[in-house]
């Protein structure tokens, strides 16, 4: 079920990837939805729906991750640095 939902959203992304301006948020609504559904299933779908509602002309958008402590660039950079160090010591 999750896989079908994610495949559908990927198809949507490919179909719309060349339609100029995208989402007000980072990550975009569709990327958010893919992460959320992959991680939380049905609850993720609700989260994604809520995100789309928030993404309206009266919002200013911004950075909004499914899980700040898992997805943000700083965290990822931190992790990749650790990995590099681990590789380096071996």
């Amino acid at each position: 079920m999750r896989k079908i939902a994610i495949a559908l959203m990927r198809a949507y992304q490919i179909a719309t990837s060349n339609l100029a301006p995208r989402c007000k948020y980072y990550p975009s609504c569709s990327n958010y939805a893919i992460t959320a559904v992959g991680r939380y299933g049905a609850k993720g779908l609700a989260m994604a729906a809520w995100r789309i509602v928030r993404c309206n002309p009266w919002s200013t958008g911004g950075v909004d991750y499914v899980d700040e402590n898992l997805d943000s660039a700083d965290i990822k950079n931190l992790l990749s640095v650790d990995e590099k160090e681990a590789v380096g010591t071996n």
């Binding site: 100029a20 301006p21 948020y25 980072y26 002309p57 958008g61």
Partner: protein, 301 residues
């Protein structure tokens, strides 16, 4: 479900019937022209309601020029980290309470209306009344034709050759308008970008084939009336963008340079200084899909 959709059916059918009532004395109550124009009128009404959102969007895109140096800085600082770069950009927009990116809201807002129209028009084909489209209106609409094709019939559901021809033409028109709108934006409407030109060309090519395909797949199931709605909306989008690109282009885009050159030239011939290009940004009402109006200039005496 029907409790949510019933008001929508009422609105959509109400607007169509209302415009039909206005136009009936001119074109005749049973005329296909009246019914087609009623559907187009619905589009125009919706798009007029959406204009303020569009204007807001344009304004926040313009506000971006002021942020240009900050953006360059961010791009330089995080040039190896796309994610961090995007994050910082978003933070910058939020800080300045502006966002150049459109939310999908205007498109999503139209989806239920589109769906309601689909149901209402299908109702005509199956003699099922929805909202205000009932009784004599239902009978009248059922026989209304758009270039010889009944507005309630679909490509797949009809054996008539005229229906096939008209639907195919409408689908071709939808694909064409979408493509030109997109192309116009890419070629003229966006600030020049280096190195990404190849990718853009690539995307345009994909789009050239993808959109007719999407429209063809979905369009064969849609009644002619829905295709009229869709085509009109596409045409409106194109006109709206054409107007903005010509009259009020994004700073840094080829269209902007063109306009500046034109104005400089005009100013020279009239012996007048170059006017600030942003002067008439906010004051001009967005009359869209209209012919390009000649610019009125005050002459110095």
């Amino acid at each position: 479900m029907s409790t949510i959709l019933n008001p929508l059916y009422n609105i959509v059918s109400g607007v169509i019937v209302f415009i039909h009532k206005l136009l009936a004395p001119i074109f005749g109550a049973n005329s296909g022209v009246t019914w087609s124009l009623s559907i187009m009128g619905l589009v125009v009404l919706i798009r007029i309601i959406l204009i303020p959102l569009f204007v807001k969007q344009i304004k926040s895109q313009r506000a971006l020029t002021a942020l240009q140096p900050h953006m360059k800085e961010i791009q330089k600082k995080y040039k190896d980290d796309r994610q961090k770069q995007s994050e910082e950009m978003m933070k910058l927009y939020k800080e300045h309470k502006t966002n150049p990116l459109a939310s999908c809201f205007p498109v999503l807002a139209q989806a239920p209306i589109f769906f309601a129209l689909f149901t209402v028009l299908n109702g005509i084909a199956h003699n099922k009344p929805h909202g205000f489209l009932k009784g004599e209106y239902l009978v009248s609409a059922a026989q209304a034709k758009f270039f010889g094709a009944p507005i309630s019939e679909t490509f797949l559901g009809s054996d008539k050759i005229t229906v096939k021809i008209v639907t195919v033409l409408l689908i071709a028109f939808m694909s064409g308008t979408t493509f030109t709108t997109q192309r116009q934006l890419m070629v003229k409407g966006m600030p020049k970008m280096d190195s990404s030109n190849n990718m853009m060309l690539q995307q345009q090519k994909i789009m050239l084939y993808l959109f007719p395909l999407i429209f063809a797949i979905s369009g064969v199931n849609f009644p002619v009336g829905v295709l009229i709605y869709w085509s009109t909306t596409n045409l409106w989008t194109w006109g709206q963008q054409f107007y903005v690109i010509k009259r009020n282009p994004t700073p840094g885009s080829p269209a902007y340079e063109e306009l500046q050159k034109k104005r400089a030239h005009k100013a020279k011939t009239e012996g007048k200084g170059v006017e600030g290009i942003d002067q008439d940004v906010a004051t001009e009402p967005e009359v869209l899909g209209q012919r390009q109006q000649p610019k009125k200039k005050k002459k110095k005496k």
